[in-house]
Symmetry: C2
Subunit: 190 residues, 2 copies
């Protein structure tokens, strides 16, 4: 997606070899107009999948998921990392290991909000090692629902996320795939 | 806003005297169609304010803020409760006391994303004691920007939030104001 790649080149900042800072438009300040174009592109790529629900994870997935959901006319569910005071007792849970924080955390979704008839599109801002996506796939699988696809805004193509998802025979669509960020220079795949 | 009040009556659950569970459409599963109506209503109520930015707080404010921002054509910024690995060093910070969790937490916004020319609309899902809103107002004030208004989806009218905001002479618009929830029965103001 050219618009997104141009935005990454003009506004992203490479910190070290693996960290791409895109907080001016993606995960702290949000460029809602760009999100709409992202939503339309996800729609185009998954339009034959009869999606019934979009699943994401708090916090930075929520904005993308909500804007995208408008193009599918479906509700969003976001998995919780941080337990609220009034979360349902009956939840699907999965364990996600975060390399950035070097520890595991639990994600939870109330059993009420995914059922076996759902065709779920998983949306997230980043794909790196694929652990968050794998946790969300695990939750959909526990609900006996179908994972119809995974839509990612920025994939770090030099990490292992893609393999984890494709090994499960799930359609993965990343709108920008970064091949390398050596010496601060962002190179995209194709 | 009648549509919202009807949704609260049909789908909300009162837990105890002070907790209203609305996770089927507001803060776990998200009814994006309803959020669009909420966004339009915020636009109607603040349309004369020349808003340049919408500020909210992770996680459940983000969806409402993003959908609403479409009607103002402005970016969203969400204050972070949980520090990411690549947050700017230069931030505005405020301390928020959570009654539900009986402890304080810090919220942070990078100094890059609010400047003194901004006219900021603060959006959140709930107003209860007003501590989160006060923290966001504090951050906008630190940036020497203008708080043009506070837009809330559900206000617990029996708690003190409104007074805190109105004492600062800020326009507060809550789309549903709950007067009482005694014995599980939700009564709205007007």
């Amino acid at each position: 997606m050219e618009l997104l790649k141009n935005k990454i080149l003009s506004s992203g900042k490479v910190l070290g070899e693996k960290v791409l800072k895109v907080d001016s438009f993606l995960n702290h300040q949000i460029d809602v107009e760009l999100f709409n174009e992202i939503g339309k592109e996800f729609r185009r790529r998954f339009e034959k999948k009869h999606i019934t629900k979009i699943l994401t994870i708090e916090a930075s997935g929520i904005g993308i998921a909500c804007i995208t959901a408008q193009y599918f006319n479906v509700p969003v569910v976001f998995a919780k990392k941080h337990e609220g005071s009034n979360m349902d007792k009956e939840t699907y849970e999965s364990e996600v290991f975060s390399f950035t924080k070097d520890k595991s955390y639990k994600i939870k979704v109330s059993k009420k909000y995914i059922d076996s008839k759902d065709k779920v599109l998983i949306i997230d801002d980043f794909l790196a090692n694929g652990n968050a996506a794998a946790g969300l796939i695990d939750i959909v699988t526990q609900a006996n629902a179908e994972v119809s696809g995974v839509g990612i805004v920025i994939e770090k193509g030099f990490q292992d996320g893609r393999k984890i998802i494709e090994d499960k025979k799930i359609q993965l669509e990343s709108l920008a795939i970064i091949k390398s960020m050596d010496e601060g220079k962002i190179i995209f795949e194709n």
